[in-house]
Every structure is written in structure tokens, then in C-alpha cells.
């Protein structure tokens, strides 16, 4: 009896450690696309680019563009830990801009930065610019400058594909909704449902959603679409965003020339269809249709 219990405890420990490891950020092949997925666009690298920007001149001299990005958001800003490859919608946007500034994808040096490190890294010049679910707001405009927006996100709900009760923010009362500890998403959803579950990563929330302990996960729909793509067709995004988050490219506050160049690059790739292709091959895998192409704010 006791031996069995000891054995059971040992087995549990092993099993639980394994589960814990998976719970963190998904399995290594998470970014692998299904075989019938739309292909990613390719970008023609411009030669003879003339932009009067000190940051860009410095990048040309070192032969490398340093771009800040996220590494833990599937189909948005994702790094395959095994191969070191980056993929996702934000990564594609960064590649488009790099191409128009005269840099090939091989000349990009990616720098993973978590949200709280973004402003210091940009203002201290540790990165040339940042592409990673970076909402444009007045508070941030005091320290950094934004090109874009290249995508307009809004807080939405991620639910299981067969869920019919949750149709938007007004149907979450009494449901168990999960989001990240300390995020602004909490405040927004609490108006509709005071009881929420919080973990420090969205992947933990998604894990709980898949196991059925929470009914929905809430944050920006771009992030949710990434998870819906990763776990397609098990999860879906409700598609009734109730806030507006304009994702911009963060760059040094005083570099108007670079900002204009990035704005031009975004505009050019929106117009030639690369933007839509990039969406379809990444976040579009979630089954959610592409939102309207956002108008640039050239402030």
C-alpha cells in the first residue's frame, strides 16, 4: 500500500513536471504551418535607399538592422527556440520595412524585448526600431515615436470553437475569464465580469481554456488570433472587439526621417497586397478574416 503510494507520488511528480514544461510556451513545433496554408510573401530589397537618418546610417555601417520584437506570441512575434527562426505577422511587417530600407532578412538582428523594456531600449538606441504589439498612446509618445499604425487591434475573447454562449463582452457575466496579471485587459473586462482568473502569461490562460477550467481568454484580438491559429480548429476568436489598440512601430523620438521612411514602407506594402498576404499566412490561419487596412497617422 505504502509502496504504491510512494510510487504514485513519484510518477505524479514526473508527469507533472512534464506538464509544467509544456504549459510554459507551447511545444517547439508550434509555429509550424499546416501544409495547405497560404504562402508568406517575399519582399524585394530596395537598393540605393536615401534616408537622412543617423540611426539608419549607423545600421548601414554595421551592415545590420537591429529590430526589437516579441518571441512568445504565436503567429505574431514568435521565436522557434530550437532553430532560432522568427515568424509571425509582426515579424513580416518588420521584414517589409527592412526590405524597403535596403536590408535583407539575413541582415536583420532580432532582439527580444518584453513590454517593460521597450521604451528604454528605443530611447537608448539599443535597437533601431521595435515591432511587437506596441500600442500607440500619448503616454508613450512622450519618450518614443511611432510609425503606423500597421494594425488595429481591439480587446476580444478567445473561446473554444464549439462555444455558443459567449458572443461578446455582454455575455461574459458569470463566466470564468482569464487574462494576464496586471494587464490593462483586466480593467476593461471587469466592467462586465468582476470575477477573473489571472496568470502571468497568456499561454497559461490558453492552457486553462483548452482544459475547460476557464470559459474564455481576453486580450487584444491579434494575440488571441495567434493562439487560435496555433490551436486551430479547437479555438476561435469571438470577433466583437470592444476597445481600440493601434499597433505602431516604435522608434527614436527625434528621428522624423526614419519615421517617414517606415510609414512609406508600410503604405507601399499595404497597397501592393503584401500586408494582406502576410496576414493570411499568419493570423489568418485562425479563421478570422483580415480587418480593414489601417490608415497611417502621419503626425
Amino acid at each position: 500500500m505504502r509502496t504504491r503510494r510512494t510510487l504514485a507520488v513519484a510518477l505524479c511528480a514526473v508527469a507533472l513536471t512534464a506538464t509544467a514544461a509544456c504549459g510554459k510556451d507551447g511545444s517547439p513545433d508550434a509555429a509550424a504551418s499546416p501544409s495547405n496554408a497560404p504562402a508568406l510573401p517575399t519582399y524585394t530589397v530596395k537598393t540605393d535607399v536615401k534616408v537622412d537618418s543617423a540611426v539608419l546610417a549607423e545600421a548601414k555601417k554595421r551592415g545590420q538592422l537591429i529590430i526589437g520584437a516579441k518571441a512568445d506570441q504565436p503567429f505574431l512575434g514568435w521565436e522557434d527556440v530550437a532553430s532560432g527562426d522568427r515568424s509571425g505577422f509582426d515579424i513580416e511587417i518588420a521584414k517589409m520595412i527592412a526590405a524597403d530600407l535596403g536590408f535583407t532578412p539575413q541582415q536583420i538582428k532580432w532582439q527580444t524585448l518584453v513590454s517593460s523594456q521597450r521604451e528604454p531600449a528605443i530611447s537608448k538606441g539599443q535597437i533601431d526600431f521595435y515591432v511587437g504589439t506596441y500600442s500607440i498612446n500619448d503616454e508613450r509618445k512622450k519618450t518614443v515615436s511611432f510609425a503606423g499604425p500597421y494594425y488595429i487591434a481591439g480587446q476580444d475573447l478567445l473561446v473554444k470553437a464549439d462555444n455558443k454562449d459567449i458572443t461578446g463582452k455582454d455575455s461574459v457575466a458569470g463566466k470564468n475569464v482569464c487574462t494576464a496579471t496586471g494587464s490593462t485587459s483586466i480593467k476593461n473586462i471587469q466592467q462586465y465580469n468582476p470575477k477573473i482568473t489571472q496568470f502571468d502569461t497568456y499561454s497559461a490562460c490558453v492552457e486553462k481554456l483548452l482544459s475547460g477550467e476557464v470559459d474564455a481568454v481576453t486580450t487584444d484580438d491579434a494575440i488571441l488570433k495567434g493562439y487560435a491559429s496555433k490551436y486551430a480548429p479547437k479555438l476561435k476568436v469571438v470577433g466583437q472587439p470592444f476597445t481600440t489598440e493601434k499597433y505602431g512601430v516604435g522608434l527614436n523620438k527625434d528621428d522624423a526621417a526614419l519615421r517617414n521612411a517606415i510609414n512609406d514602407a508600410i503604405k507601399a506594402h499595404q497597397d501592393n497586397g503584401d500586408w494582406k498576404k502576410a496576414y493570411d499566412a499568419t493570423l489568418g490561419l485562425s479563421g478570422s478574416a483580415a480587418p480593414a487596412v489601417p490608415a497611417l497617422e502621419k503626425y
Binding site: 509544467a20 503616454e139 496579471t181 483586466i186 486553462k208
Partner: protein
């Protein structure tokens, strides 16, 4: 510095503080009961009990606490066990601390001269009686100082629960950071709160020591 007394910040801070105390108290209780039981297992004559105690201490003391929280919060539901988040956190934190309590108590048991247990046995006491009436009371009095370290560490370890859906001080800190208050002032207040808790525990143990410590 004064941000704490603006808006509804104080309510959030107070709730976090109370939640930290509640989680710490529940975990301390679990750790004390479970740790004593495990210590008894580890010195018991039954090899199976000893093995169980050793296995518990080895697994729980050597696993990072975050991993234990993960294992409890995500592993148990996978096995069909569903509790409140507070229960999960108490199990993880209590189980972890219990392994330390067990080892501290065991070191105390080792300080009780063997003759005491032999004398008890020759009076006809069972193992249980020997342990609870003769050995453990003396052991517990010996280890008050190291035990206070374990229980001072516990409220600070409880900060990890903030990442697992417990609204304690750590998660309050995250919310304040997100609202954009200066990191320094946030951590000043959070550190003060932890200091109050730890100092209270330390004072309690010092009082117990002055009353109970064994003079040798």
C-alpha cells in the same frame, strides 16, 4: 511615494496584503502539520514510511517553487482534480514548506539523546507515544531558531502565487506598474508590507524562544 493614497490604489494594496497573509497563514498551518507528520515518517521504524518521507523531501525541497505551482495548478486539473486557486496555491506552498519543516524537525529529533527514547520504550511506550510525548516536544524547543527562518521565508515565497491567479502583493505590484507609477515607489510600499509580515513572524518566534528554548 504618495500614489498609494490616490484613486482606489490603497484598496488594491490592502487586498493584496490581506491575501498574502491569508495564503501565508493557511500554508504555514499545512506546512506545520504535514512537516511534523513527515518528520515522524522519516524517523519511524517502518521502511515504507521512511521512504515516503524521504521521497517527499527530495522532490519538494529540490524543485523550484514556480515549477511546483505549475505542477499543482496545471497538473492536478489534468488528473481530474479541481480546486479553487487559493487551495492550489496553499497545497504548493504548504507542501514545499513542509519539506523544510520536516528537515528542521528531524535535525531537532537528532539532538534528543537516544537514551530518552530507550527509556520511554522500556517504560512500555509505543513509538507514537515516545515521539509525541518525549522526543518531539524537546526537538521542537531546540529548533525554534531555524524554524523561524522557514516561516519568515514563507510569506516572501508566497509572492510566486501572484503569477497563479492569487491577488496578493506581487500581483498588486504588477497592476501598479501597468498603471505607470514609478517602480521605486511601488517596491518601497511592497517591501514595507513584506517587512511588516516578516517582522511579526520573527517577533512571535523570538517570544516563543524566550519562553521555550532549551537551556543546555
Amino acid at each position: 511615494m504618495g500614489f498609494l493614497f490616490e484613486d482606489d490604489n490603497f484598496a488594491l494594496f490592502r487586498d493584496g496584503f490581506l491575501q498574502t497573509i491569508e495564503l501565508s497563514a493557511l500554508s504555514a498551518l499545512l506546512a506545520l502539520l504535514l512537516g511534523t507528520l513527515l518528520a515522524a515518517f522519516r524517523v519511524s521504524p517502518a521502511p515504507v514510511l521512511r521512504a515516503f518521507g524521504t521521497a517527499w523531501v527530495t522532490i519538494f525541497r529540490n524543485t523550484p517553487l514556480t515549477l511546483l505551482f505549475f505542477a499543482v495548478e496545471f497538473g492536478l486539473p489534468a488528473l481530474g482534480v479541481h480546486f479553487e486557486h487559493l487551495t492550489f496555491a496553499t497545497l504548493a506552498l504548504g507542501g514545499y514548506t513542509a519539506s523544510f519543516v520536516c528537515e528542521v524537525l528531524r535535525s531537532g529529533i537528532n539532538t534528543v539523546p537516544l537514551g530518552q527514547a530507550e527509556a520511554a520504550r522500556s517504560l512500555g511506550m509505543t513509538f507514537g507515544q515516545t515521539l509525541t510525548l518525549v522526543v518531539l516536544p524537546q526537538a521542537a524547543r531546540t529548533v525554534l531558531a531555524p524554524m523561524s527562518s522557514v516561516f519568515i521565508a514563507l510569506p516572501r515565497n508566497s509572492a510566486i502565487a501572484g503569477a497563479f491567479s492569487i491577488g496578493e502583493l506581487y500581483s498588486a505590484q504588477q497592476t501598479f506598474s501597468d498603471r505607470g507609477y514609478s517602480i521605486f515607489s511601488i517596491f518601497f510600499w511592497v517591501a514595507c508590507a513584506y517587512l511588516v509580515i516578516s517582522a511579526t513572524v520573527a517577533t512571535l518566534f523570538r517570544f516563543l524562544e524566550s519562553r521555550l528554548a532549551v537551556a543546555r
